[in-house]
């Protein structure tokens, strides 16, 4: 277990480093949100949570994962490449002309299920997918990762009502709760709290975790569903820009591209943190 956790930690560091290089090379990207969700995606793809296979990305019984916070495509592509869904070298084409690695997730990329990026789309789609699996009596599940600011979109709450009504216990919504949206604190723009209570009131089983703690994430994501007959919401409390001190928790880093000096400092800091702890 300790070995596995160490591996995950290294994997998360690798993803963050490669992700930052990708943003630097492309001169585009959503640095803060990518780093915020890096541990969640690490655990999903490398912690044995998602039942997906790079050799069979279209296997009918695969789990479906929807990256509703599609602006964090840089993180998704980096994770998928490192997980073997396409060659890592292709990451250098991120947002370049005619690349399939578009600025928001594209189904031309293996294991991307839907073209997300307009906010508030992932949860309704995942709800439909979970319903299909339930109707067919198949064991696969639908996972969706949403941003927290994204929950200001009403379509999420439409889907939340329907998913509870249909008792979709094979639906898991993870909220990347970093408390920052592009222009500032979510609570100062259109407050989400009490967020867990909102989800509970909508009929969901809710757990709150430290979204950077692999043990906590694994604990919940490998014991699903949280409650029989209910969809699960995992509120992952995170820090936008996590892992790089001068990016962390700054709204300005929503889509700021690091300079070369910043990139080098960031890579150094990530390496150091991985070795020390």
């Amino acid at each position: 277990m300790a070995q596995d956790l160490l591996k995950l930690k290294r994997q998360a560091t690798d993803i963050r480093k490669r992700n930052l290089r990708l943003i630097f090379e492309a001169h585009h990207g959503h640095t803060g949100g990518d780093l915020s969700a890096a541990d969640i995606l690490t655990v999903l793809y490398f912690g044995g949570v998602l039942q997906v296979d790079p050799d069979h990305p279209k296997a009918p019984d695969r789990d479906r994962f929807f990256m509703s916070k599609g602006h964090c495509s840089g993180l998704l592509y980096t994770t998928l490449a490192l997980a073997g869904f396409f060659p890592e070298a292709e990451l250098s084409t991120y947002m370049q002309p005619l690349s399939r690695l578009s600025g928001h997730p594209s189904t031309h990329v293996p294991c991307v299920e839907a073209n997300t990026g307009a906010l508030g789309h992932g949860l309704p789609i995942a709800t439909g997918a979970a319903l299909a699996a339930k109707l067919d009596g198949t064991p696969w599940r639908a996972f969706v990762l949403t941003g927290d600011g994204e929950l200001q979109e009403g379509s999420n709450w439409e889907a939340a009502m329907i998913a509870a009504q249909q008792e979709l216990e094979n639906l898991i919504c993870i909220v990347d709760r970093n408390r920052l949206q592009m222009m500032g604190r979510t609570e100062r723009i259109s407050a989400l709290e009490p967020l867990a209570e909102k989800w509970r009131a909508f009929g969901w089983a809710v757990c709150e975790v430290d979204g950077h703690d692999h043990v906590e994430l694994l604990e919940h994501l490998t014991h699903l569903p949280v409650a029989k007959g209910k969809p699960t919401c995992i509120i992952a409390n995170t820090c936008k820009g996590r892992g790089v001190s001068f990016i962390e928790d700054r709204a300005a880093c929503h889509h700021r591209v690091p300079t070369e000096a910043e990139l080098n400092a960031a890579l150094e800091e990530l390496d150091a943190a991985c070795t020390i702890r």
């Binding site: 009918p60 479906r64 189904t107 299920e113 839907a114 073209n115 997300t116 990026g117 307009a118 508030g120 789309h121 949860l123 309704p124 789609i125 995942a126 709800t127 439909g128 997918a129 979970a130 319903l131 299909a132 699996a133 109707l135 067919d136 639908a142 009403g154 379509s155 439409e158 889907a159 009502m161 329907i162 009504q165 249909q166």
Partner: protein, 319 residues
């Protein structure tokens, strides 16, 4: 009693519902989502017969269209049925991204289209739906004219991979197609031939252009009549032929003249026409319709055989 009153009229929603039920019997993937619109889509019988395959998700169009994409991603063949005014406008971004851009195999079935909800007012009229969806890459748009075509359109939609919008009125229409008619997506049906003018319509306006052609014939003018049931992809060949072989084109639709059938036809005439051919577009002229029954509003906007005849005569006077 005039001759017209003896003609039997049909509600295309019934043909849609029967065809969908027959399809569900054969294809276990078929699944229906409704936004509390089970009775207005005429799917009550379907719901009784297949209680697990018709889901009333409540009044939530955005989530409903998104769920359609998810169902398709999960291997289902979803038909989403409801009043066209809400299905299209409320969930337009879901139609663009989740259905068209992601290219999911979802069928949208808009009912009570055009001015059908007449006296309920402009909130309930669906006279912009074709324009909105026609602008979206990868969308197929079908406006059947009668029960024969409605049933076949459901079949064709099921056999064709990708997002398709089917538009069913609730106004009574006569049968215009013979039982051996074969609907094909993207192919106009020539219901009558003539060499002076081509009349092109879709949906409820098809019997009206047929009647207009009859009246023109009495004045010595021969009209070609095309039922352009597929608005996208439009049958370019049929339009180019009409330009070459007739002297004017009149389009008629229960929709705004901005961005619908008339616009689609005019785009082809302007870009691919081989000679000058004036086009008259009949429809709702860029206004919200006032209160009144659908029949009243059709008269009000000149969407009548008389209005179509007048438009044709005006254009032919320019020859």
């Amino acid at each position: 009693m005039s001759q017209d009153e003896t003609i039997e009229l049909h509600d295309c929603r019934n043909a849609f519902a029967s065809a969908l039920e027959a399809l569900a019997e054969r294809d276990p993937r078929v699944m229906v989502l409704c936004n509390d619109s089970v009775s207005s889509t005429k799917l009550t019988h379907f719901a009784e017969r297949y209680p697990d395959r018709l889901l009333n998700i409540g009044i939530a169009e955005q989530a409903m269209l998104g769920m359609g994409a998810g169902l398709a991603i999960g291997g289902k063949l979803p038909f989403i049925a409801g009043a066209a005014c809400f299905l299209t406008a409320r969930a337009l971004e879901q139609i663009k991204n989740d259905l068209a851009y992601t290219h999911t195999n979802v069928k949208i079935c808009g009912v009570s289209t055009g001015l059908a909800y007449g006296p309920l007012g402009a909130t309930h009229h669906a006279i912009e739906d074709i324009a909105w969806l026609r602008a979206i890459a990868g969308m197929t748009i079908i406006v059947p004219a009668d029960p024969v075509e409605s049933a076949q359109a459901v079949e064709a939609a099921a056999e064709t991979e990708g997002p398709i919008y089917l538009r069913f009125s609730r106004m009574g229409v006569p049968i215009v197609h013979s039982p051996d008619y074969q609907f094909r997506i993207g192919r106009a049906a020539r219901l009558r031939d003539g060499s002076d003018v081509t009349l092109i319509a879709c949906g409820t306006l098809v019997p009206r252009i047929l009647e207009a052609a009859e009246r023109l014939a009495r004045q010595g003018i021969t009209a070609r009549v095309l039922n352009m049931a597929t608005i996208r992809p439009i049958d370019r060949d049929a339009i180019v032929k009409a330009v070459a072989e007739t002297d004017a084109i009149v389009t008629a639709e229960e929709h705004t003249i901005y961005g619908g059938l008339g616009s689609a036809v005019a785009e082809v005439v302007a870009t691919a026409g081989t000679r000058f051919c004036p086009v008259g577009t009949l429809g709702i002229p860029g206004v919200f319709a006032p209160t009144g029954s659908a029949e009243f509003l059709m008269d009000y906007f000149g969407l009548t055989p008389k209005g179509i005849v007048n438009a044709a005569m005006d254009l032919l006077a320019r020859r």
